[in-house]
């Protein structure tokens, strides 16, 4: 799942003939004045200025300003660019034409196992959740394009009438093409607006997710997906992502501020169960982490050091299932080096470490880990005979 920002989404809409308002994305407010000279719509329309960043709740944060003229838009852009929101900084704003409109509609499409599902409602806008029962669903089987008649019929059932139904169906059919050809996972247009005087439609706001795994066949994807965790990545997360991109196998990290139990767990499946066990036993996790696919020991070492630096942690759970091919001895040597390095830097004071793991070279790996006791680590090491997540119970009961 890769969410993309409005700018790139609008560009893809344009490509597939889905009407969008005029817009520009800028990093420098002064650029707006120049663009104003070149573009009539910037001078003559009411404008909306929005921070073009993956920041949730932009409206409340004052990162969306409506109904502006060009001068006001310039001031709004100037005010927003460079603003720091938590760990994020606003680098770009999108300035779009605020289309005067008569009605707001809802159109979305999302993938399902057998194809996709088109959702239409003539009662779009901010109240769509309350009008959810008006939404008409149309299932689209994989690799099939519904006829315009079929879509029009669905539009009529969704409460659209006459020419508007036909036009909405046309837009929806293009949306289906865009969804299919751009390897999208979901596209939600809310609202799709209409100005009836000239029957002009525009997708005023849209959220689009594309399948990042399909990027190898999209040469024109010049964007990057935005953070998937509802906030910008922290520096530590970014560092681990950079390592992840370079290695065989993977290392992953998400920080959860305020938690006491740090996770240094292996495997995409097992790591989730460890998080669950902490929560189920009333603990609070300080992070989610995972290494898998037999990553090099230095990458695991970097992940370990990052985790040891998490503030206020009381336990570190070095957990994992019985690996199929990840070498326990090699990955543990990375973890051990990370622990030693962290301890020499003054971390791991009063932190208990709990280990459970199996897999290739498990005996050597576990023995090496156990030897850390001699170096003054508060470490508890268990082999495969310990039920996987029970070290969490031990940690929380200690």
């Amino acid at each position: 799942m890769a969410k993309i920002l409005e700018g790139p989404a609008m560009k893809l809409f344009n490509k597939w003939g889905i009407p969008v308002p005029n817009y520009v994305v800028i990093m420098d407010p002064d650029r707006l004045a120049q663009l104003g000279e070149a573009n009539k719509w910037l001078r003559e329309s009411k404008l909306v200025v929005k921070a073009h960043e993956a920041i949730g709740g932009r409206f409340k944060l004052g990162l969306v300003k409506l109904g502006l003229n060009l001068d006001e838009a310039y001031l709004a852009a100037k005010e927003m660019i460079g603003r720091e929101i938590g760990t994020s900084v606003v680098h770009q704003v999108i300035v779009a034409e605020m289309l005067d409109h008569d009605e707001e509609y809802y159109v979305s499409i999302a993938g399902t196992r057998d194809g996709s599902e088109l959702l239409l409602s003539s009662k779009g806008g901010v109240d769509i959740e309350d009008n959810w029962d008006t939404v008409k669903r149309l299932f689209i089987p994989l690799d099939e394009n519904p006829s315009i008649e079929t879509i029009t019929e669905a539009a009529l059932e969704a409460g659209f009438v006459g020419e508007i139904a036909e036009r909405v169906a046309k837009i929806a059919s293009r949306l289906i093409l865009c969804f299919d050809d751009e390897d999208a996972q979901s596209i939600e247009i809310n609202p799709l607006v209409i100005r009836k005087s000239d029957m002009r439609f525009a997708a005023l706001d849209a959220v689009m997710n594309v399948d990042w795994d399909a990027r190898f066949r999209h040469a024109d994807w010049d964007f990057k997906p935005v953070s998937e965790i509802g906030r910008s990545y922290t520096e530590a997360e970014q560092q681990i992502m950079d390592i992840d991109a370079r290695i065989k196998g993977s290392v992953k990290l998400v920080e959860v501020p305020g938690g006491e139990i740090a996770l240094l767990t292996a495997g995409g499946g097992a790591s989730v169960f460890y998080s669950d066990a902490v929560v189920a036993r009333g603990g609070s996790i300080a992070n989610y982490a995972e290494y898998s696919g037999d990553p090099p020991d230095w990458a695991v070492e970097a992940l370990t050091e990052t985790i040891c630096r998490l503030p206020h942690i009381k336990h570190i759970i070095v957990g994992g299932a019985i690996a199929n091919f990840t070498d326990v001895k090699a990955t543990f040597s990375g973890i051990i080096n990370g622990f030693r390095e962290s301890k020499s830097k003054g971390f791991l004071e009063n932190v208990q470490i709990w280990v459970r793991r199996g897999g290739p070279n498990e005996n050597q790996g576990l023995a090496a880990m156990k030897k850390l006791q001699e170096e003054g680590f508060d470490i508890h090491v268990y082999d495969r005979s310990m039920p996987m997540t029970d070290i969490v119970d031990l940690a929380l009961n200690s």
């Binding site: 799942m1 949730g56 993938g111 196992r113 057998d114 194809g115 994989l142 690799d143 299919d180 390897d183 996972q185 399948d211 795994d213 399909a214 190898f216 066949r217 998937e228 965790i229 509802g230 906030r231 992953k252 998400v254 959860v256 292996a266 495997g267 995409g268 499946g269 097992a270 790591s271 989730v272 169960f273 998080s275 669950d276 066990a277 902490v278 929560v279 036993r281 609070s284 996790i285 989610y288 995972e290 898998s292 994992g320 299932a321 019985i322 690996a323 199929n324 091919f325 990840t326 199996g358 897999g359 290739p360 070279n361 495969r384 039920p387 996987m388 997540t389 029970d390 969490v392 119970d393």
Partner: protein, 610 residues
């Protein structure tokens, strides 16, 4: 009994190195249960025509790599299963081709990062063909005592620990690869092991689902209970619950679902697997899955750790009801051990291998090369130079500073002698013919011999002999040489003479005798010899080969290393000439007619062949 993979399974692996590693792991299982090799062929166009070495125990098999699946199947019609190990961008095409192949019934894909649309299409295509497409992102399929597809089950030791050499009574279906292995272990530790275990992969739209395999297990009389390990995202677990609740099922279902922690994590946060994401309004949440499964009658412990107890409980119930009859455990000692490699046995000290070669000078088995014990980087750090390395590798000791300086100067003085001499000229001709550096330099190198540069060793050798056998009798030495060897190596020059001395010789002799404290009996002896020979003929001077040879004797280098100084030094020059010719873009050269005396027969007619 088992599902999906059994004793009749014969597989082709489509992909490169990862596929080869899987084939080797699979062959270990084949060896454990004494079945024929599961992998019969590879398909990987870049390596088409090659053969890969696969050990089944101690038996070496050569498995062919084909350029196309069609060809592989034509020559191996017994293949009924395909394993996809190829990269994500080509995985769809490979899997589709495999599904379209007549004899192939099962396609399982380990490739990760496959676009969702491709996976959806493959699932649809498999359904239309009435075949199974398992994966993407599947670690594989294991049928205890029958067949292993992929690296599922991990290392050889684990196959035994999980009792995978013989069937048990539990089925396993997981999304996660690592947890499939864990689940097999749990079934062996707390029950009697598995019949089959399948990893369906953690993608959003796997080709199969829990229900597909639950139905198969339901129809497999040996499977009495199934362990399902699912996670947040999608509705496959809900569908499994629906299947279970729909009618009375023969098999018991034990489940564990990951992702309940999502409530406290940052909203929208993604977990390890691509498919592990909650939908809108809590759709596909771990909690809703757990409730659905519990409501349908599945045993769902509150943490993964609770699975041990749950499996044991179900196993004991099944034993009690008579559904499972306890069987005598196989003595694990009777199971074959994987033949160790020679290296492993040597480590344990159970075998002596006579080494093929012996070295006394260097060792790179550690973090960096060591020359006669000294780490290369430490030599650099402590200010030693290439002359010290030469001494270490050729004479196994660190020279004194004076000795090192002499070695350095010998190399410097001998590095080149212009383009006209045989060695440089040979390299230049080769360079002009477009020959690459190593070959062009060796063209020059082949010139080094008795007439050019190769006299150092013999010169040193015979002067040393003279010092020893004829210490105060130079005429006696010369006489012995005349009778036994011929001209004295190291004496004589084509153009230089007493009146026109060789500057290099003069310099070296002067430097070694006047500016160092080196004791030089051999050089002194050679200079005495020169006095006598030049009295006979003006050009019978001590030449540079002789000088260097004598100095090297005095430096106590081994005799047969002497020519090495010339070879090493002149290599620097020859490389220089090669670079120089290339810099100038030199053209192919040939000798002009006027430089050749054509002392040949006159033109004449070839007689008729008889």
């Amino acid at each position: 009994m088992s599902i999906l993979a059994n004793k009749d399974t014969r597989a082709v692996i489509i992909g490169g190195l990862a596929g080869l590693n899987a084939a080797r792991r699979m062959a270990q299982f084949d060896f454990l249960i004494n079945r024929p090799l599961t992998v019969q062929a590879f398909v990987y166009p870049p390596e088409g025509g090659q053969q890969k070495e696969i050990y089944r125990g101690g038996e070496l098999n050569n498995v062919t790599v084909y350029s196309s699946l069609e060809q592989a199947l034509e020559e191996n019609p017994q293949i009924n299963t395909a394993l996809i190990y190829i990269g994500a961008s080509r995985a769809y095409q490979s899997a589709k081709e495999a599904l379209d192949a007549k004899g192939i019934k099962l396609v399982t894909m380990i490739t990760e990062g496959v676009p969702e649309k491709d996976a959806k299409r493959l699932r649809k295509h498999a359904l239309e063909c009435g075949k199974i497409f398992n994966g993407p992102s599947s670690i594989g399929i294991m049928s205890a005592g029958e067949c292993r597809l992929g690296v599922i089950g991990g290392e050889f030791k684990n196959l035994k620990l999980c009792n995978l050499y013989r069937p048990g009574s539990f089925g396993v279906i997981t999304k996660s690869g690592g947890l499939s292995n864990e689940a097999m272990w749990l079934c062996a530790q707390n029950g009697n092991g598995i019949t089959s275990a399948v990893a369906i992969g953690g993608d959003s739209y796997p080709g199969t689902d829990f229900v597909t395999y639950l139905n198969m297990f339901e129809n497999d009389p040996d499977t009495k209970a199934v362990v399902i390990i699912g996670e947040v995202g999608g509705t496959l677990e809900e569908e499994a619950a629906e299947w279970l609740g729909k009618e009375i099922r023969r098999i018991k279902v034990i489940a564990s679902i990951g992702g309940t922690c999502q409530d406290v994590l940052p909203q929208g946060m993604k977990f390890g697997h691509a498919g592990a994401k909650e939908g809108k309004k809590g759709l596909g949440s771990a909690r809703s899955k757990i409730s659905a499964l519990r409501a349908a009658g599945a045993v769902v412990p509150d943490t993964f750790g609770g699975l041990s107890k749950a499996i044991r409980q179900v196993y004991e119930e099944l034993l009690k009801s008579g559904a499972i009859r306890p069987e005598a455990e196989l003595d694990e000692k009777l199971l074959p051990a994987l033949p160790p490699s020679v290296q492993e046995v040597m480590k344990q000290g159970d075998i002596i291998v006579e080494p093929l070669i012996r070295t006394t000078i260097s060792d790179d088995r550690g973090e960096e090369p060591r020359y006669v014990g000294y780490a290369a980087s430490e030599l650099c750090e402590k200010g030693y130079g290439i002359e010290d390395v030469i001494s270490l590798l050729w004479n196994k000791k660190l020279p004194t500073r004076e000795e090192a300086e002499i070695i350095k100067r010998i190399i410097m003085i001998s590095a080149d002698h212009g383009p006209a001499v045989s060695g440089a000229f040979g390299s230049i001709i080769a360079a002009c013919a477009g020959i690459d550096l190593p070959q062009a330099v060796s063209a020059g190198m082949t010139m080094i011999g008795p007439r050019f540069g190769g006299a150092v060793t013999n010169a040193g050798k015979y002067f040393k002999y003279g010092v020893k056998e004829y210490p105060n009798d130079i005429p006696g030495f010369l006489n012995w040489m005349k009778e036994n060897v011929g001209p004295v190596p190291g004496i004589g020059h084509r153009v230089k003479s007493v009146k026109n001395p060789d500057k290099r010789v003069k310099y070296l002799v002067d430097y070694v005798t006047n500016q160092t404290t080196l004791h030089t009996p051999c050089l002194d002896y050679a200079l005495q010899v020169e006095k006598i020979t030049t009295a006979k003929k003006d050009n019978l001077i001590l030449n540079v080969d002789g000088t260097i040879g004598c100095i090297l004797v005095d430096l106590d280098f081994p005799e047969y290393s002497f020519n090495g100084f010339f070879v090493l030094a002149r290599t620097i020059g020859m490389i220089g000439h090669w670079i120089d010719q290339n810099n100038q873009n030199s053209r192919l050269i040939r000798l002009y007619d006027y430089l050749i005396n054509y002392a040949v027969k006159e033109e004449r007619e070839v007689p008729e062949k008889k």
